[in-house]
């Protein structure tokens, strides 16, 4: 199969079972609601259902480090329309982490709702809830705060130096060494890397520095809470992690989970920043205190300054190999800047190694180590790519330089050392998400094909090293290679429930959190495929802690693979119950143990599902394999609901996997560097991706394109600028430049489907991997064009020009 249209090629490698819904670009289940502007986002619902709600605004710190000597809220409280002012004096003192992660939580408990200490410009000082945003805003100005300012640490390189200001003197639980500003530390050794480097014929060592960046979802963090008629606190929140949000808020406010419900409506994007519980605690607390519905919608400025960002990292990368380019040693040190709080500090840093180094599994001796340090700067957290993006920036540019040193083609050097089907890497087992990982063996990979197709699409053989000139502009091409994961093995769990209706349609409820990716659609496709029905026969409801079963949430590229596994299992369990009733109707035998056996995701993939030798589903009917007789599922439902041995046909299933099959990608780019201005223009970008079977090719393409656009922005234009006291000076979408339509270069997406036997319908993940390529591929293209290696991002015109002048002067 091969679908070709402009800028998109969809190919398959190998063979896999025929499907009728999976693999088709069906319309998104929420498509028409979204394009007609239906009131489905958090603030829409608040405005529609609670027009008289209170509006919350947050007072933030104007200083980078210090203590609140005094805070007087009386004038604010006296302002007409103000209903509540929250500060450290009247809120719970529970220490917690805002990172919405699994349990036990891997991030340090260094956060409180409010504290006497402020740790960065933008840190929470107080919150006001009032009848209108304007009144809340006025009230913020009436809060009198006197700060006792202290010296701040504004550079990660200074954080561990003796005498550096200590960001968390209270020594939070879970922080590695708060007395030296180390939030997290990791050190993984396989073999003896220093010995291997010393013995290598060729070695290379480079240092790379990445920068602060913003997710910039179109919808900012928004949440409201109200108390329902039964006394339950309901939080409606634009969150990637409804269950983690409930768990964290429950703990912080001391509320029973039976009195707390989190609902995630449609969501205007997340990209990781909404894997954080940043305002849910405030609206819940305020709703309880005031008895009124309370909402907070972060302003765009707050989204930049006070929510979450990407961890800037300094990465020291060393590679040792023989003269033929066979890797022997890989050594990576990471100094990660985790800002004022250690949210995701350990796990993002772990992923910088665990999602990159196994790609080059031929190295026998590997060390990955790092420190995530506190500074008095904005707080990084989860961001699409989750540390791998930073890791690849260093790894893939260093490999490019190594290829030059060896006089080898960079693609050949990668092919020689990359992981292949049937192989593993000791890193998989040594390094997980902040703890030991799980051994993995690659079961599917189209990486060699991706490299070949991408090289052909960009014109690698003809253009590489040619430095074609057009006046003061010179062209170059570059490439990079990547993997990610599909969920966190043996940690991430998802569950789904399916109920049969009398007309043979189904109701699917799942914890899986559609943050705009289209997961409600692709998960419905998976259910429809198992149940042998068209999409209109599946009605899906997701992400409500009261109404749907548990899911860890939308992160770690887990939803397609993990939540998909749960949906496939639930669909198979329901299907088997339907088979049992059908067998009665048709007077045929069916072993009860086959019906009650826990279904496996792998069945139908590389092992036959034993029950399918008796019956199968076809167009809403059960068909007997032995007799050829058929009965409609609707008839089955009526019999089961109303007639004989009445019971509800329904099932709930959970999925947790020992596997986290990596998707693979190869990115290629052709650029033109203007030697007069330093501007880098992208002439063509190619992203070739193997994400297993594409459940919905249009949505797969959209994930890749969106990630590439975000990656190019990160590589060329998106950057935080700071004033002298750590204050962000470009906190608007005018001053912080994300790519617009005209900025987006011609981009070709090549998707090569390759059946992954451990995934639901052969799928792996696709959400994150596409953001990893732009920095290294563009950096390598700049090197090809000019011979200059930039070790600091982003590749803005002024930086490129400075490097060019440094060269010629």
């Amino acid at each position: 199969m091969s679908i070709e249209r402009k800028s998109f090629r969809h190919l398959t490698e190998g063979s896999y079972p025929a499907t009728h819904v999976v693999g088709k670009s069906v319309d998104k289940v929420d498509g028409y609601a979204l394009v007609s502007g239906a009131p489905t986002y958090t603030d829409d619902i608040a405005e529609r259902d609670f027009p008289n709600r209170l509006h919350g605004r947050i007072l933030t710190s104007p200083i980078a480090n210090g203590v609140i000597a005094s805070i007087d809220t009386s004038a604010a409280e006296a302002l007409s329309g103000v209903r509540l002012v929250l500060t450290w004096k009247n809120t719970p003192r529970t220490f917690y982490t805002t990172a919405g992660q699994g349990w036990p939580e891997p991030s340090p408990y260094d956060n409180q709702m409010f504290t006497e200490r402020v740790r960065f410009v933008g840190d929470r000082v107080a919150a006001v809830f009032a009848c209108s945003r304007d009144i809340a805003e006025q009230a913020l100005k009436l809060i009198k705060v006197s700060f006792k300012e202290e010296p701040a640490v504004l550079d990660a390189d200074d954080a561990m130096k003796p005498g550096a200001p200590i960001v968390h003197p209270e020594d939070p639980k879970g922080a590695y060494d708060a007395a030296h500003n180390v939030a997290a530390h990791v050190d993984i050794n396989v073999g003896n890397v220093d010995k291997a480097l010393a013995e290598s014929e060729i070695t290379i060592s480079e240092t790379f520095q990445t920068h602060y960046a913003q997710h910039a979802p179109m919808e900012t963090h928004t949440a409201f809470a109200y108390t329902d008629d039964m006394g339950k606190v309901v939080i409606v929140s634009s969150t990637q992690v409804p269950w983690h949000a409930r768990r964290i808020v429950s703990r912080v406010l001391g509320l029973s989970m039976s009195k707390l419900r989190v609902v995630k409506p449609r969501m205007g994007g997340g990209f990781g920043t909404k894997q954080e519980v940043l305002i849910d605690d405030l609206v819940a607390c305020a709703a309880i205190r005031t008895g009124l519905p309370c909402e907070i919608e972060l302003t765009r400025k707050e989204e930049f300054v006070s929510s979450r960002t990407r961890h800037p990292m300094r990465i020291d990368m060393s590679i040792g190999c023989d003269r033929q380019g066979n890797f022997k040693a890989l050594k990576m040190y990471v100094l990660s800047n985790t800002g004022a709080y250690g949210s995701h500090s350990l796990t993002v840093m772990s992923n910088t190694g665990s999602k990159t180094l196994p790609l080059y599994n031929k190295a026998s001796d590997v060390r990955f180590f790092g420190d995530a340090v506190y500074t008095n700067l904005p707080v990084p957290g989860a961001y699409r790519g989750y540390g791998a993006t930073q890791g690849y920036a260093a790894l893939e540019t260093t490999i490019d330089d190594l290829a030059a040193k060896l006089g080898m083609d960079p693609i050949e050097l990668r092919k020689k050392n990359m992981i292949r089907v049937g192989e593993g890497s000791p890193i998989f087992e040594a390094l997980g998400e902040g703890r030991q990982g799980v051994a993995q063996t690659i079961k599917s990979s189209s990486l060699p094909t991706l490299l070949d197709l991408g090289a052909e699409a960009i014109g690698w053989a003809e253009k590489r090293g040619k430095r074609v000139r057009n006046g003061h502009k010179v062209r170059g091409i570059g490439m990079s290679m990547h993997m990610q994961g599909s969920g966190i093995p043996l940690i991430d769990m998802a569950s789904a429930s399916i109920k049969l209706n009398e007309d043979g349609s189904y109701f699917l409820t799942m914890g899986a959190t559609d943050i705009g990716t289209g997961s409600d659609t692709i998960l419905s496709q998976m259910a429809a495929e198992v149940l042998g029905v068209t999409m209109d026969r599946i009605s899906a409801l997701s992400s409500d802690t009261d109404l749907t079963p548990f899911d860890v949430g939308a992160y770690a590229s887990s939803t397609t693979f993990i939540s998909g596994g749960a949906v496939v299992k639930a669909a198979k369990a329901v299907r088997n119950q339907i088979f049992a009733v059908a067998a009665d109707i048709l007077h045929e035998d069916l072993d009860a143990s086959l019906v009650s056996a826990e279904p496996k995701v792998e069945w139908d993939n590389d092992q036959p599902d034993p029950i399918l030798s008796f019956f199968h589903m076809e167009d809403g009917n059960v068909v007997s394999v032995r007799s050829g007789k058929r009965v409609s599922v609707s008839d089955v439902a009526y019999r089961a609901f109303y007639e004989v041995n009445q019971h509800q046909i329904a099932a709930t299933q959970s999925f947790v996997s020992p596997y986290s099959p990596p998707p693979f990608a190869a990115h290629f780019v052709e650029i033109e560097v203007d030697e007069l201005t330093g501007k880098v223009e992208i002439l063509k970008y190619v992203a070739a991706v193997d994400c297993g079977v594409s459940i919905n090719p249009d949505l797969v393409r959209g994930q890749i394109m969106g990630a590439v656009a975000n990656g190019i922005g990160f590589a060329l234009t998106e950057e935080y600028h700071f004033g002298s006291h750590g204050n962000m000076t470009n906190s608007s979408l005018f001053d912080y430049k994300i790519l617009s339509r005209r900025d987006m270069p011609p981009t070709e997406v090549i998707v090569v489907d390759n059946y992954e036997p451990t995934g639901p319908w052969g799928a792996k993940s696709v959400a994150e991997i596409g953001i990893n390529g732009a920095i290294p591929a563009i950096g390598n293209a700049i090197f090809d064009a000019t011979g200059i290696r930039l070790h600091r991002t982003p590749y803005t015109a002024d930086r490129v020009l400075a490097a060019l002048r440094g060269k010629s002067i």
């Binding site: 319309d27 986002y41 405005e47 179109m218 449609r266 990630a707 005209r742």
Partner: protein, 157 residues
């Protein structure tokens, strides 16, 4: 002050503050299809048509709309009767989170009303102020080309 606006062909009167922006008035009055995002005119999410021209409703004083014709995305088409552009957005996988879609479709509508056969470059230019963080734009541009072709075909009938 009281203003009169024709919103999606219905004449409405609203009591507004002189400094209120159109975005806030429309949302307060139930036009929740108009989405707010940056509130500084940078992102295009809140785009509506005023007398057929796209404006950022977050920067437009409501008072300035007095006596004018305002069209929101729901005035272009709704779920029961979607416009060709909206159908093309769904068919081409052009919305992911969908938050930018109302504004983007509104800008596209203004373009196609003026230029029924735009080039890709003209689409990029006309919709340049409509940011999208999810899609990388390609499928949205294909959707507009797709819709334009379909509208031209319908016009020929």
């Amino acid at each position: 002050m009281t203003i009169s606006i024709t919103v999606n062909t219905v004449e409405r009167s609203f009591a507004v503050q002189p400094d209120e922006v159109l975005l806030d008035v429309l949302r307060r009055e139930g036009y929740l299809e108009v989405k707010g995002s940056c509130r500084s005119g940078d992102c295009g999410a809140c785009t509506v048509l005023m007398d057929g021209r796209p404006v950022a409703s977050c920067l437009t004083l409501a008072a300035k709309a007095d006596g004018h014709v305002v069209t929101t995305v729901r005035g272009i088409g709704d779920q029961a009767h979607p416009h060709v552009l909206q159908e093309a957005f769904v068919r081409n996988g052009a919305s992911q989170c969908g938050y930018c879609a109302p504004g983007a479709i509104t800008s596209a509508k203004a373009l196609l009303d003026e230029n029924p056969d735009p080039s890709e470059e003209e689409i990029r230019l006309a919709m340049d102020s409509n940011y999208c963080r999810c899609t990388g734009y390609e499928q949205q541009i294909e959707a507009v080309l797709d819709a334009a072709a379909q509208l031209r075909q319908e016009a020929r009938k």
